[in-house]
Amino acid sequence: MKLYRRQRHRVLQIVTKLIIPFVLLFALYVQFHGDYGPGGGFQAGVIFASAFVLHGLIFGLQRTRQVITPSMLRVLMALGVLIYLGTGIVSMLLGGNLLDYDFLAHDPKHGQHWGIFAVELGVGVTVTAVMISLFYSFASKR
């Protein structure tokens, strides 16, 4: 059977398509399980980004760039930092020190929970964006 150029890695492409959702799901698990067990924003961010790296390796950088554009990544990077800082500022507005999560809810324990949740989300978003843009800049010829 003659294969066209774009079909050459059919098996890899289909397997990748199957794997990517699970990688993303696992990343989300690591992200949101971070406050109970091992995990957290850094690890989750890297795992989340690895799905995009895999996509880029198999389907080519062009198509990954269409999925998530470099300018979008820049927005995400900044957004993550803003989420982190925003948590700190909210805790200051509610009467505590910077990043004092006790003040985020009525019960300090819940406050700590929400605080770490928001902060790790910020970390996760930024790490994902940074990892993907690192991949872009090393993989592209420019």
């Binding site: 900044a78 800082l85 009467g95 505590g96 020190n97 910077l98 004092d100």
Partner: protein, 496 residues
């Protein structure tokens, strides 16, 4: 309520400005955001200095976790001075940057430039404010990474190699500092500075403390560009965008010197650093050779920026020599010179920035007769150049007078004499440039370059603000001297 949050706001405001710049992306809007943040930070630093001087030391527990467990911000007079100096110089140079950056940096990248600037400011302020040894390293990395980026924005291609060289040297310095902090942690089990200062006397006999001390000394010497380890500085200052050079010359090395002070005096204590460790056998000769040799080297430079860069290393030599005296008056002299030199050198680099903006280069030999074309810029250069030499009624006089006084008081008259000798060199290197700019008439065979006018107001005003302040500090020296001697007393007294 807001009065309690000042230490946090000092860091949060510039840090918030950086991602906002990235999101907004429009050049002018980014500049406006950065400037607003910076003005707020200056006001904040002023309020902090006032608060510290009236109510004493401020300790701010981040996240509500009290000191030995959590990270704390520790503000005494010394920190507050550094915060005010860094944020003020950043503010003035940021105003200055508006016009000059438009010319040197690619338009599409302005937002990254201002974001990096804000991050660099965050890092420098963070190093100054924190009371946690590891946190110092974290902020050091933030400021260093942003600095590498800022340096690489230079229009000259050599900016990239200069930035890379600084990256290598800076990383070596930063990792030495990290190793030092690691050893300290191994020996004492503490990272909080106050805690460390209490525990080090018991752990002093351990070799780990000695190793930590050595690593920290070398790492900070690289970061502060103290004489034998200053290799990165000249190239970096020469090729960076001139606004960045002005900003860094007044802040980056000064902040490293502050960390040096903090570690030697507050944490290890002067008896350990300058008594048992015999640091003045190592550091003092380096400082003296530094200010003599590099003042001499500055005489032979052909590029104005490079000349000023070498002169910077020489001035750092004065500051370190003043620290080595390890007395109240010596430290006061050192701290005053940190402030004064920060102001003068920034003003000098700004005037060079004006020259580059109009002339297009800073080659000393071809700046002849510049006085006729750009009188205000050249006047600014001359006034701050006189400050660099240490002529009476300028800030340089105050710092050199107190330095020489302090060295005589300690009985090291030789140091005082050598400071005078290197001031003679300073007369030569400043005088040579002034002679060319003012007295040498243009060569008739070269065509008159077009568009030679005075630099734009947006560059002149911030420069003259700095010069006004330097003259004020020079005429009424007691303002800075009293604050500096308070800071010196606090450093020598150790943590309460």
């Amino acid at each position: 309520m807001i009065a309690d949050q000042l230490p946090a706001l000092q860091i949060v405001i510039p840090m918030l400005a950086a991602p906002l710049c990235v999101l907004v992306k429009r050049s002018n809007a980014c500049w406006a955001i950065a400037l607003v943040a910076n003005v707020l930070v200056v006001i904040n630093a002023f309020a902090l200095l006032h608060q510290v001087r009236t109510d004493g030391v401020i300790r701010y527990a981040l996240g509500g976790w009290a000191a030995p467990t959590g990270i704390e911000y520790y503000v005494d007079t010394m920190n507050a001075i550094m915060l005010l100096l860094v944020s003020f110089i950043s503010c003035v140079t940021l105003v200055f940057a508006y016009t000059s950056v438009k010319k040197t940096v690619v338009t599409g990248k302005h937002y990254l430039f201002y974001a990096a600037w804000m991050l660099c400011l965050t890092g420098l302020l963070g190093i100054s404010i924190t009371g946690d040894a590891f946190n110092v390293f974290v902020f050091l990395e933030i400021s260093s990474l942003a600095t590498y980026m800022l340096l690489a924005f230079g229009s000259d291609r050599r900016a990239l190699t200069a930035s890379f060289r600084y990256l290598i040297m800076g990383s070596v310095g930063a990792s030495f500092i990290l190793i030092g902090i690691g050893f300290l942690y191994a020996a004492t089990g503490a990272l909080n500075m106050v805690d460390l200062a209490q525990r080090i006397p018991d752990a002093e006999s351990q070799r780990a403390v000695l190793v930590a001390f050595s690593f920290l000394t070398i790492g900070l010497m690289i970061k502060a560009a103290v004489f034998p380890l200053h290799g990165w500085l000249a190239n970096a200052y020469q090729h960076a965008p001139i606004a960045v050079t002005a900003f860094l010359a007044g802040t980056a090395t000064k902040v490293s010197l502050y960390v040096l002070l903090r570690f030697f005096f507050s944490i290890f204590g002067p008896n350990y650093s300058f008594g048992a460790m015999l640091l003045n056998v190592v550091l003092l000769p380096a400082a003296i050779v530094g200010f003599l040799l590099l003042s001499l080297v500055a005489i032979f430079q052909t590029d104005l920026r490079r000349m000023l860069a070498y002169s910077s290393v020489a001035q750092i030599g004065y500051i370190v020599a003043a620290f080595c005296l390890a007395t109240q008056s010596g430290l006061t002299a050192g701290i005053v010179h940190i402030i004064n030199h920060g102001i003068i050198k920034t003003a000098l680099f700004m005037s060079v920035g004006c020259i580059i903006y109009r002339v297009g280069h800073a080659h000393i030999g071809s700046l002849d007769n510049l006085m006729k074309k750009m009188p205000l810029t050249v006047t600014a250069f001359i006034i701050s150049g006189l400050g660099l030499i240490g002529v009476p009624l300028t800030v340089g006089f105050i710092s050199k007078f107190s330095l020489i006084g302090a060295s005589l008081e300690r009985g090291w008259w030789m140091v005082g004499a050598l400071v005078l000798v290197s001031s003679l060199f300073a007369i030569v290197y400043v005088g040579r440039v002034v002679e060319i700019m003012v007295f040498r008439s243009s060569r008739t065979d070269t065509p008159e370059p077009t568009g030679m006018r005075e630099a734009p107001m947006s560059m002149l005003v911030p420069m003259y603000v700095l010069i006004g302040i330097s003259l004020w500090f020079g005429i009424s020296g007691s303002t800075t001297l009293s604050v500096a001697s308070e800071a010196a007393a606090a450093l020598l007294g150790g943590y309460q």
